[in-house]
């Protein structure tokens, strides 16, 4: 998946007003709640064929760390 598309999908999934960028932090972001994490698990599972636990995703600090977790090779 292209990075731009990934960021766009993430913006939609988190239902945030400001577009998500590489530098977006999830810390203190109200929208990054357990429901968003569940949607994220489904999104990653569907697009990258990878199951990442909610526990791990809940502790992700920002977009960069999320991309590392999914695998940098998968997002260009």
């Amino acid at each position: 998946m292209h990075l731009a598309e990934f960021l766009e999908e993430l913006t939609e999934l988190l239902e945030v007003e400001e577009a998500v960028t590489l530098d977006t932090s999830f810390e203190g972001m109200d929208e990054y709640d357990s429901l968003a994490v569940m949607s994220l698990i489904a999104f990653i599972d569907e697009n990258f064929d990878k199951t990442i636990s909610g526990e791990k995703l809940s502790n992700v600090k920002g977009v960069k760390e999320l991309i590392t977790l999914i695998g940098e090779d998968n997002i260009s």
Binding site: M38, T51, G54
Partner: protein
Amino acid sequence: MTILQYARPVIKGIVSCYPENIVDNLTISPVLSLKEAQKIVASTGIRERRFASKGVCASDMCVQAGENLLDGLNVDRDSIDVLVFLSQTPDYLGVPATSCLIQERLGLSEETAAFDMVLGCSGFVYALSTAYAYVEAGAKRVLLLVGETTSRFTSLGDKTTALLFGDAAAALLIEESDTESSSFFSLKTSGAGGQAIVIPSGGYRNPSTAENISIVEHEDGSRRGGLHVQMDGMQVFDFTMKEVVKNIKSIISHANETVDDVDHYILHQANKFMLDMFLKKLKQPAEKMPISIDRFGNTSTVSIPLTITDSIASGHGIDGKSIFCGYGAGLSWGSVFLNLSSLDYTDHQEYKK
């Protein structure tokens, strides 16, 4: 556990019974804004639920469902050898067992063996395997009653569980089939996750005290006491993602069938989002997985039979090769592959006082 295989027991009838009171999930919780409630409803798929009226027990709904079932199948009450009552909300805290009281209320013979079972949302599959085992060992008929008044142990002020659980009951008759009808069960446990869904007080580990039963505010703004259920939603979600589809696929392969051969996937109704994920992972069409959670919520042990009668009542027949899968508190889970062409009678009705 190893795979349990039964050759002859089948389900002859199912009757579900649900309370008349409809609860609107968008407005019921005092700690959730309309926007928050809408967001949760969109994810869980639970638009409304049923709550039992004050004074109505799980056993009361079970008795109504049981009478309807025995009358509907025209079964001689003296032919019920075993009565099993599965519930987390019995009439009394263990003494006496609610099943004994139901034996008398349903006018069953004193020859009937009656006992209670307790398990969370996986319980239905476990209790069904117990009923099957009794029939395989010679019992003529087993009456399986499942009922929950989960609303009694849920705090509407708890952000995680406020909009989840609903009340309902079901009665099933299990007997020997004239022809061979193999069923396969797989039952599993992970007590390491025992605290993931828990009612912390009121048992003998932490007996009720004025302090632990009082309702207090928690870190996330939720309000609940020690007699209310509490849940680590993320831990439970991770567990279901890891185990449910794996368990279903394994029982299908033990039955020498394929995922596509199964006509109906009747899964515990915990969360619509999760059910959609399971459907995707199984690569099956939505018609194969009936849904009742939108109108009844998570009715714990009752959700599988309730979903069957709901589907039939709304004109979508359930017949043929089926999978049931239950998963929840314990942590505990289990699946069964069976054939439902044995069903002679079903009903889906409101509780009448």
